[in-house]
Symmetry: C2
Subunit: 150 residues, 2 copies
DNA sequence: ACAAAATAGGTGTATATACTCCTAAGTAAT
DNA sequence: ATTACTTAGGAGTATATACACCTATTTTGT
């Protein structure tokens, strides 16, 4: 019994949107994480700190929605930040909720990380060209909204 | 001491290439994983099976390179496939190497998964439009090659 | 032939991701 | 007021990801 899959079918799978997006995400993550390494922050953590700092005080579920991230994923991603004292998680007025805020330590870490992020971001955008990155970012947004409506 | 970060600095971070790529990757992964769920395969696993099936017999490091994936990540990603008997890992002629091959079980799983993948892929491409996906895929490839040359 | 260098790969550890199932607390129906 | 429903969130489990460090094997320089 030879396989029933046509030899021409499998190469098509290299066009997989999920594979190509994940691959690109892995690649840039390595680049950004390396750039942020002196701060001890991963890019995921940096992004969370930025969001928390901007929002002031935010519920867990809301923060998860913004990142198109599962709520339970966010809970786990907050752990290392809390352990390092960069954020605080306290019960909200609605006693079901938990509110996340950034600490002074967190602000300081953010100040330290910001110039490193700016450098690697500028480098990536420059090498892609600003136009290409603009259209790419729009496309990525389209992908996200497409999935949200599923 | 009020924070020294200009109020206009943080919103710029929402343009982060890493954040936007990871976010989009999370979104599509949820879509594809859901589509493949009846097979018990995650999209990552499906992609690996496709690659292994196409390449016939491939060394661990080579397979990792193709996916722009850390070698040790691949090692761990192969584990669930091996445990389910979908692939085999055997020592190569060069006794340092390990060669990965797909099993009959793996071929069968692939046959089962292929139409489900085709459906979700076609759906995504259609909703994005073929043109947009084409340009997007080219952009993603550009990102990967950009990072590889760092 | 043998020591040094290079190569292939795995383990330990830590983070990232999400599904299923569970508890607690608020809200609505009667 | 009490029950039913809904909402917010965590815990258990499993996969995904990669860095630092380790071992084993091959290649290379002499």
């Amino acid at each position: 019994m030879d396989h029933k899959i046509d030899r021409l079918e499998l190469p098509k799978c290299m066009d997989c949107a999920c594979f190509n997006l994940r691959k690109a995400a892995r690649a840039v993550t390595q680049l950004y994480d390396k750039a942020l390494r002196p701060t001890g922050l991963r890019t995921t953590q940096f992004t969370l700190l930025v969001g928390i700092s901007m929002l002031g005080a935010v519920r867990v579920t809301r923060l998860a929605e913004i990142g198109v991230m599962d709520r339970t994923t966010l809970t786990r991603n907050l752990k290392p930040l809390e352990r390092r004292g960069l954020i605080q998680i306290t019960p909200g007025n609605d006693h079901r909720t938990r509110v996340v805020t950034i600490t002074d330590e967190g602000q300081k870490a953010l100040e330290q990380a910001l110039p490193l992020w700016k450098k690697v971001q500028a480098d990536v955008v420059k090498r892609l060209s600003q136009e290409r990155w603009n259209s790419m970012r729009a496309d990525l947004g389209e992908v996200v909204s497409l999935v949200s409506k599923s």
